[in-house]
Structure formats: structure tokens, C-alpha cells
């Protein structure tokens, strides 16, 4: 039976319970004219009944959907004749299970259907039917019991409002902890995989090694048998590209922010700001092929004409396009900061006979500087974590160089290449991606914390 249908049934039951609870509360005190004898407004008695009718059933439904398949599979496997399961490896067993499941749902399985599998599928199918019935029964019971409980509590002395408020709070806490726990889970899983990586490759080699060639040979005598996991070339590549990006984005973003905040007439501002926001809304993959297909060939051609050798996947091209992507980010953050410098500062300066540019240079800019630095740090952390542009426009070769005309690779590019394609999930090669991810995470986290701290401190100054 479909869970969606169940969900609707439960929701309908909640509506009904609301109605019943509310009605009863009014009837118990003897009509609408008497409702001030109730502790809470009648609707709260309705909400209370509805929450009791719906919440336990919904929770059960959630768990059931999550666990049904595993439990049924375990039961089916336990029923299999011992001689079938006895000498099966883990991989073959899971293959067998998926066979059983596909037969049970009527799909085509891989190869011949053996009698054991057919029997097991039959069994699985039967269990499924039982489970569905049980679920319906349980949910119906829960809904009825909950409604009865809530209905029965619709009495004048019952503090329905307070109860409903605290139940709502619990629900909110539940949802926010889902968000927090998910984050925590992701961080922990990256952390654990990284630890596994560092058991295979010493962390000193990873952090300080200068050679990156993440090839693990399948056979000992194969070429490239010696993998090297020195991430320094990736870090320098990332830094080089981010540096080029900031070199472009910070001056342009900042100056356009000053123009928009201080000079632009209202009319110009009203169309210039949306245009900048459009720039911020372009998907990074579009920037990526702009970099790879337009900017890089242009730079290469330009280099040829002046006698420079520019790689077709140069750090310069990726950096420049990334810079363009970050301009609106820098500009809108800086503009906010500049706007939040109180008008009284400007007035004070103008009243001393300062010009507008003197005022901007010597009063507004210093006052806004901490906030601007915060904004730039946020932009840097974005540049470092940016993936799509560099995947398309930066190279794969882990060159240790500071020359922007050569091709470099970045941490994010390597994570993508390590994890795409068919991979074994416990080789050093794939685990290295987690270690890189962890490094990236730590660096961006630190940058963000510093930046937010600076921005917040700056805000306090004027609030």
C-alpha cells in the first residue's frame, strides 16, 4: 500500500480530530456563550486532539518506511535453506538478495531463476503483504487512540494552550536537530574516511609532500606503481587561481560598490544593482565553459601573437573567470558595509569643507574597512571552494608553479577526478578525496569564522 495514501489518510484524520476536540470543548462548557470558562480558546483543544491523532502515526510511518525493507530482507534470508547461504561471500549474497527482490516485485532478474530464489521471492512477497496490513492496523489504532485521548482531554480545566505550545516547541526542536545532525554526520563521515586515508599515507607526506600522482597500481609490477600523495601542488594551484581571482574581483567589486553607494544617482542604482545580481545568478557551469571555450583560447591566441607560451588550460583563464564570478559578491557585501556607515560621518566631514572623494578615502573607507575585509575573506573562501569553473578551465596536471600562464590543478578538481568513474571505496586513491575535502572544509571554516567575526564586530560599532 502506498505510504502517500497513508499520509493523506492521517492528515484527514488530524483534521477530523481537530474538529471533534474543538466541538467537545465548546459542548462541555455548554455552548459558545460559555467559552470563557475554558482555560484556552476552543481551537487549542482541537489542535491538541489533532496533534495526538497525527504525530504518533506520522512518526511510526516514518520509521516503518525506513526499516521495512531491511527487516523483510533479513527475515527472508533467514528462511533460505542453509545449503544455499552457507558458502556465499558477502557480495554474492547481496546479488542473491537483489535477485529475490526483483523477482518479488515482478522485475527481470539477472540470469536463470533457481527454485530457491523463486521460493524466497514468494516468501518475501507474502511478508510484504503482512507488513502492509500491520502498518495499516497500527496506524489506525494510533490515530484512534490519539483522537480519543485528545477528545477526552477537552475539559475546562485542561491547559490546552500551554500543552500545544510545548508540543510545537518539541516539533521545532526535532526539525532543527535534523539539520544540525545532518551537518555533524557529514563532517564526521569525512573525518573518519580521512583517518582511514592517513592510516595508509602519513599526514606529513600529504600536507608537505610536493608530488601528487594518486595512482595505485593493481599489480605490483605495473607502471606508476608508486602513488604519491603530496598535496602541496594542489594547495598552491588553488591559491594561485584564487589569488588571480581576487586580484580581479577585489578592486572592481570595491570600486563599483563605492560608486553605487556614494556617487550613483538613484536611477542608475535602480538598474545597476539588479544587473550585478544577475551576474551573481549565472550558474557556475556556464562560467566554466565561458572560461574553457572563450577566455582560454583567447588568452592562448593573444599569447602567441606576443610570443608568450600560454597553456590552453592556464591558471590565468580560470582565475580571471572566477574573478568575474566573484565581483558581484564582493561588490554587494562592500556596498552594504559602506551604506551602513552613518550619514552623520559624511555630514561631519562635508561640514569641514572636505570633498566627496576626501570623505570617502579618509572617513568612510577606514570606517568600513573591517567590514570590507570580512567580505573579502568570505569571497576568498568561496573562490577556494569553487569547483565547476576550475574543473572545466584548469588542468589536471599537478604542477608546482607560481606562473599563471602554466596549467595548474586545484583541490576541488582533484576531488572530482578522484571520485568520478568506477572506484574502489577503500583504496588510498579514493580516500585521498576525503582528506582533501577535509582540508578544504577546515580552511573555509576558519576563513568564514574569522570573516563573520570581523563583520559582526564592525556592526556592533554603530548599532
Amino acid at each position: 500500500m502506498s505510504p502517500t495514501l497513508l499520509l493523506f489518510v492521517v492528515l484527514a484524520a488530524m483534521a477530523l480530530a481537530y474538529h471533534l476536540g474543538r466541538k467537545r470543548a465548546i459542548r462541555v462548557v455548554g455552548g459558545v456563550s460559555q467559552i470563557n470558562r475554558l482555560h484556552s480558546l476552543p481551537a487549542y483543544y482541537g489542535y491538541y486532539a489533532a496533534l495526538w491523532a497525527g504525530l504518533p502515526a506520522l512518526l511510526l510511518l516514518l520509521f516503518w518506511i525506513g526499516l521495512q525493507e531491511q527487516i523483510l530482507t533479513a527475515l527472508t534470508v533467514a528462511e533460505l535453506p542453509p545449503e544455499v547461504t552457507a558458502d556465499l561471500s558477502e557480495g554474492r549474497l547481496s546479488l542473491l538478495i537483489s535477485d529475490i527482490r526483483s523477482v518479488a516485485t515482478g522485475n527481470i532478474s539477472s540470469g536463470e531463476i533457481s527454485p530457491e530464489v523463486a521460493a524466497a521471492a514468494e516468501h518475501y512477497h507474502r511478508l510484504e503483504g503482512i507488513a502492509d496490513l500491520a502498518l495499516w492496523g497500527l496506524i489506525a489504532a494510533l490515530v484512534l487512540a490519539g483522537t480519543a485521548w485528545g477528545w477526552q482531554h477537552a475539559k475546562p480545566s485542561f491547559r490546552a494552550r500551554n500543552r500545544v505550545e510545548s508540543i510545537m516547541m518539541l516539533v521545532l526542536i526535532l526539525f532543527s536537530s535534523i539539520a544540525i545532525l545532518t551537518t555533524l554526520g557529514i563532517v564526521l563521515s569525512v573525518l573518519f574516511e580521512s583517518i582511514r586515508f592517513f592510516q595508509k599515507v602519513p599526514w606529513t607526506e600529504f600536507l608537505f609532500g610536493t608530488k601528487w600522482s594518486p595512482q595505485i597500481a593493481l599489480r605490483a609490477e605495473q607502471v606508476g606503481a608508486s602513488g604519491a600523495f603530496g598535496a602541496i601542488p594542489l594547495f598552491t594551484g588553488t591559491l594561485l587561481i584564487s589569488f588571480i581571482a581576487m586580484l580581479l574581483a577585489v578592486p572592481i567589486g570595491l570600486l563599483s560598490a563605492v560608486y553605487l553607494a556614494e556617487y550613483a544617482p538613484r536611477k542608475v542604482r535602480s538598474w545597476a544593482k539588479p544587473v550585478l545580481e544577475i551576474l551573481a545568478g549565472i550558474p557556475t557551469v556556464v562560467y566554466g565553459f565561458f572560461a574553457a571555450l572563450t577566455v582560454a583560447p583567447f588568452l592562448r591566441g593573444f599569447g602567441e601573437s606576443v610570443g608568450l607560451d600560454i597553456a590552453s588550460q592556464s591558471a590565468l583563464a580560470a582565475g580571471l573567470v572566477m574573478g568575474i564570478m566573484i565581483i558581484p559578491f564582493v561588490s554587494s557585501l562592500s556596498e552594504d558595509v559602506i551604506n551602513s556607515v552613518p550619514q552623520a560621518m559624511r555630514d561631519g566631514s562635508y561640514a569641514l569643507g572636505a570633498t566627496q572623494s576626501e570623505t570617502i578615502r579618509r572617513v568612510i573607507f577606514p570606517a568600513a574597512l573591517p567590514g570590507i575585509v570580512g567580505g573579502v575573506l568570505l569571497a576568498v573562501s568561496r573562490a577556494i571552494g569553487e569547483t565547476m569553473i576550475v574543473v572545466m578551465a584548469a588542468g589536471l596536471a599537478a604542477n608546482l608553479t607560481a606562473n599563471p600562464l602554466e596549467s595548474v590543478t586545484t583541490v576541488t578538481v582533484q576531488i572530482v577526478t578522484l571520485l568520478t568513474g568506477d572506484q574502489e571505496f577503500d583504496s588510498a586513491k579514493t580516500l585521498a578525496a576525503f582528506a582533501l575535502g577535509l582540508t578544504l572544509f577546515v580552511v573555509t571554516l576558519i576563513l568564514n569564522v574569522i570573516a563573520l567575526h570581523i563583520v559582526r564586530k564592525y556592526r556592533e560599532q554603530y548599532d
Partner: protein, 287 residues
Amino acid sequence: MNASAEAIAAKPSTVTADKLGQDQSTATTVGEITSANPRMRCREVNVWYDDNHAIKDVSLDIGQNEVISMIGPSGCGKSTFLRCLNRMNDTISTARVEGSIQLDDQEIQDKSIDVVPLRARVGMVFQKPNPFPKSIYENIAYGPRIHGLTNSRAELDELVETSLQRAGLWKEVKDRLDASGTSLSGGQQQRLCIARTLSVSPEVILMDEPCSALDPIATAIIEELIDELRAQYTIAIVTHSMQQAARVSQRTAYFHLGDLVEVGTTDDIFNQPQHKLTEDYITGRFG
């Protein structure tokens, strides 16, 4: 000190004093709007904030070596009028100023005149203290630096010191000139802003409630300063303290809902106000 009428010539007033008192209409100003030796001359000045008509047909002279005080209930347009005198209303996008305002016979309302030198000549102390988020020293040194008033660091140091001394702040801050101007107390900030204005030696000084956050001692210092500055400068001061108006100014202007109701020698305004509104305001305060 006593208010004196020495600088005011006996020119005919815009309205003769006799017909007033009962008439509540404030369309015209009572008293002598002109000054014998005018430094600034305002004629039929009107200010709007969008549709809010904040200053209505105000005409007033501000004389050389004279202190004129502007009094009136909150929201009557005193600050607005003061801000017209150095075109500070330009910074408010909704504000619109009409009429003629002259400084030494030069029309400052002219769009072609450069407001930067104008504001260097007509300085202003704001109603709310607005020190820059810089050190105390840099707050004062800012103006002299941009105008290149000093040639050496020693000269600048001296200018900073004298400015702070005149504003009565030197003793309190001389050991912490590097501290941020915003770390001072409200009253200290107010004196810092006065010192900042003095540092560029403007010819006309506009002060918007310069003593609103000061204790009696600091107030006395500022009042003495104003009296001393009168010898060289022209000063317009907005105040809510009638005693202060009586102590420091030679002429007083009473504003009411955007109208300049009455103007005259401080003695006359406080002792024999001509207009009913002025009288109500003054007696209401003096009990």
C-alpha cells in the same frame, strides 16, 4: 553677560509692533530681521522635505561679530534652517531649498558655486555629536590636513592642542590622544566636535545645540568660548536653554512650525516679546 543691541541699526521692521499680539497669524515676521553689518542674508527661504514644508518664507540677517540664537519648540525647523546656511541640506535627497541666501553678498544657493570652500568658511557643529571613528588626534587633525593649514607636524600638534583647549577638552584627553574619538562620553564627544570645527577656523560658525549634553562647568567653558569667538567670527546657535540664549546672544530668533515668528535683540525678546506665541513660549519656560 548681558545681551546687547549695539550692532543692530534702527531700520524699519517688516511689521509694525502695535498691531500684534492678538493676531495669531504668523505669516510675517515680527521685529527687525536686518542687521547693520550683515554677514549672511537670507530672504524668503523655503525648505521642503518631500511634501513637508519645514521652513516657510524665512528672511533673516546674521551680522558680523554677532551671536544670534535660535529658539523654538522641537520640530519647528531650527536645525533645518541652520543647515541651509552651509548647504548641508544638499546631502538629504528629499530636501528642497528655495529662496536667496547670501554670504558676503555672494549667492550661495547658486548651483554653480562650489560647496566645498563654502563649508570651509561656514563651519557647523551638529546636534548629535558625530566624531569620526578615528583617534582623538586624527579627529581634530582631519580638517587642517585636508586644507593644508599646517606645514609641519609640530604646527599640527599645536593646532590640535589649541583647538582642544578652546573647547575645554584638552585636560581630559591630553594623555590619550590616540584613543578612539568614539570612546569618549557624549559630552566629551560634543566638545571634540566643537574643537574639530574650530580647527579649520571658519568665518561663520553654526552650532546646533552644542551644550545639550554638557554639565554646567563645560557649558560655561563653551559659552565663554562663544563670547570670545564673537570678536572675530559670526555665530548662529540653536539652543533649548533660554538662559543660555540670554547669556550668549545679542539677537534671538523665535521659530514656530517652520515660521520665523519674531526676531529682535535678545533683551527685547525676553523682556518685551511682541508676538503672543513668543511670549507664551518664553513665559512658559520661565514660569
